[in-house]
Symmetry: C2
Subunit: 118 residues, 2 copies
């Protein structure tokens, strides 16, 4: 199953609702980069509100998605990181440096608006 990527003006919006296994995460990475290429999106919000569990591989893939999108010219904001996920990430020693985060979708979009000055 693929994660749907929604378009909203110049931004792409992804709400991850399933437990990410390795294959889905890689597929998501490919799909998102392809979509950025097709649409010329300048910003991406990845909402993780429904993600309860994360492991080091998924965290790595997410971190990579952010760097890759950045290279392609699209700024990524991760939103809705749950307390348990934040704890796991820090416990795993993953700090997701250089990754923008925000409380929820609304704040994430606001952050993009500010950063991109649109």
């Amino acid at each position: 199953m693929r994660i749907p990527i929604l378009k909203l003006g110049n931004y792409l919006l992804i709400s991850i609702q399933m437990e990410l296994d390795d294959k889905t995460a890689i597929q998501f990475q490919e799909d998102l980069l392809q979509r950025i290429h097709e649409t010329g999106a300048t910003g991406v919000v990845v909402d993780l509100t429904s993600v309860d569990i994360i492991d080091s591989f998924i965290a790595k893939v997410l971190g990579e998605v952010v760097s890759m999108s950045d290279l392609m010219g699209a700024k990524v904001v991760l939103t809705g990181i749950q307390p348990a996920v934040a704890i796991t990430l820090i416990d795993l020693g993953i700090h997701l440096q250089n990754v923008q985060t925000a409380l929820d979708l609304e704040q994430g979009l606001m952050k993009l608006h500010q950063e991109l000055g649109e």
Copy 2:
């Protein structure tokens, strides 16, 4: 599993990504009405891009959600109905009358903007 309901200004945004079983659909109905009550949302977009299959019960629940939300003062637009789903609905004799639809999330939000004059 519950379907996450995202807030975007005065609107609520739901991207349905799982096959809806009866229990999930009823839970979604309750959650959405509760969320409309809490947030005072004036518009709702339910994106069905990732829904490939629909049955008469789910279609009925979706139709009801639209009517119930309307009673509470929130306009609902269904977006991204797939060809197969449209065919099934008409084959089942379900016409979803009085239900606003749009091609995708973007067009759905535009429709809400127009209708609500915001």
